[in-house]
């Protein structure tokens, strides 16, 4: 029942996105713009400091993610379809999971494009040296960011100032994700990849995911009742 509802909501979001591609294209373009802006700020004489590619990658993901979150829920607000979703007799946490998976899917697609761009532009081929560990960092970071982001974006739908409130609330709370993602990625980018370090950061990301997904599932139901 739970999984069926979550998948139903996810499939619906994917169907809408496949048809309009609006969020995907705008998010991708925005993410690439972010990378460029940071490149102009941080590249000097064609060189970047060792850790910079990791930082740029994760900041681009976080910024693009905020944009995707806002647009995803704007779609539910327009036509007030969110009320129809909440009125279904299904467990509300299943609806949360469906929406969250939709955001994760969008970000994964964005990352598939972003990672090669960052690797090419900053000569960071080390990103592919330990593909499984790197994918793990990306996945765990994306899930943690999306869990907190989906809950906040959903609850802020009621507020007129949601556009500014979302980043204000989301960034400080997801700083551990950014630190762990950047440090873990940077560890892999060293001339001699430090796998132990990356694994430790992955561990922190996974525990962040467990705590915050649980919290979000627990608070979504009361938060969505006005």
């Amino acid at each position: 029942m739970f999984a069926r509802i979550a998948l139903l909501v996810l499939r619906k979001d994917v169907a809408i996105e496949v048809r309009s591609r609006e969020i995907l294209y705008t998010t991708l373009f925005f993410a690439v713009s972010c990378v460029l802006v940071f490149a102009f700020a941080l590249v000097r004489e064609g060189q970047v400091a060792e850790d910079v590619p990791a930082g740029i990658l994760w900041i681009a993901i976080a910024f693009a993610g905020t944009l995707a979150l806002g647009r995803t829920f704007e779609r539910e607000r327009y036509g007030e379809t969110i009320r129809a979703l909440l009125l279904a007799p299904a467990p509300r946490s299943a609806i949360f999971v469906g929406k969250m998976l939709g955001v994760v899917a969008l970000l994964v697609v964005a990352e598939v494009l972003l990672v090669p761009i960052v690797a090419l532009m900053f000569d960071a081929g080390g990103l592919f040296a330990r593909p499984i560990l790197f994918a793990g960092l990306l996945a765990a970071g994306t899930i943690g960011f999306s869990a907190v982001g989906t809950l906040f974006a959903a609850m802020l739908m009621r507020s007129r100032t949601r556009d500014v409130l979302l980043p204000i609330l989301l960034y400080p709370i997801t700083v551990p994700v950014i630190i762990a993602g950047v440090r873990g990625t940077a560890a892999l980018l060293q001339p001699a990849p430090d796998e132990a370090m990356a694994e430790m950061w992955l561990g922190i990301l996974v525990s962040f995911d467990i705590v915050f997904v649980t919290l979000a599932l627990w608070t979504f139901e009361p938060l969505m009742t006005e």
Binding site: L151, L165, P172, I173, L215
Partner: protein, 228 residues
């Protein structure tokens, strides 16, 4: 509708007087104790900041935990009293946080030679402070029903503390290690714990005043609604 503010406020009011007097007395005595505490040779006079800096973190985190726990109670029980407790505690947490963030760099300037240092404790405090400023912003600008939204911010902010601490700690560590507190020479430890107690009492005094104000406001709203 609960208008029983007078009743619920009564026991608080009874203990407020004594606590206020004790707090005032302790703050009056604190400068003497701090001045007479041993002079720390490497840091010099700046070391005395420690007697204000660390206790303000104690008070801030107390506020954060009260806000988080009462936020959860409000979210699940819908009791407006819990929201008043949570919002009062959050506001005072921000106040003590500011105090810590101002005194921290003063220490850092002397100790590390820079005003701001991305050390683990200071970074954690800054982020928690930002989260709870966010809490206040949500309440102010979130529109109708923002109490619930802010409750979520408090819960998530509280749950975030270990992660911020852990990640910032591994990321950077420059701070005098945490173990410095229990192993202080007793000549310093005495005044230090005295200051902690004074700050906690100050927290209690401010919190009671703030909560009282919030209760009065709720009572006024209730009367207004009845009159209309």
């Amino acid at each position: 509708m609960e208008i029983g503010i007078q009743d619920s406020g009564q026991p608080m009011r009874r203990i407020f007087g004594p606590i206020f007097v004790v707090t005032a007395a302790m703050f009056a005595a604190a400068p003497y104790l701090i001045a007479n505490a041993p002079y720390e040779s490497t840091m010099g006079l700046v070391q005395k900041i420690f007697y204000f800096h660390v206790p303000s973190w104690f008070a801030m985190f107390t506020g954060v935990f009260v806000a988080g726990i009462y936020g959860a109670i409000f979210l699940f029980r819908g009791d407006p009293k819990a929201d008043r407790v949570a919002s009062s505690a959050a506001e005072i947490a921000v106040l003590f946080g500011l105090m810590g963030l101002v005194t921290g760099p003063l220490w850092g300037r002397k100790s590390w030679g820079v005003w701001w240092q991305w050390d683990a404790h200071l970074t954690m405090a800054l982020l928690v402070e930002l989260i709870f400023i966010g809490y206040l912003i949500v309440r102010k600008y979130g529109g109708l029903g923002s109490e619930k939204l802010s409750a979520a911010v408090a819960i998530f902010g509280m749950a975030n503390i270990p992660f911020v601490y852990l990640s910032a700690n591994i990321w950077r560590t420059l701070h005098p290690p945490t173990s410095v507190v229990p192993t202080l020479p007793s000549a310093m430890g005495g005044p230090f714990w005295f200051c902690v107690a004074a700050f906690m009492l100050l927290f209690a005094v401010l919190f009671m005043l703030r909560l009282q104000l919030e209760n009065q406001r709720a009572a006024l709203d209730a009367l207004y609604l009845e009159e209309e």
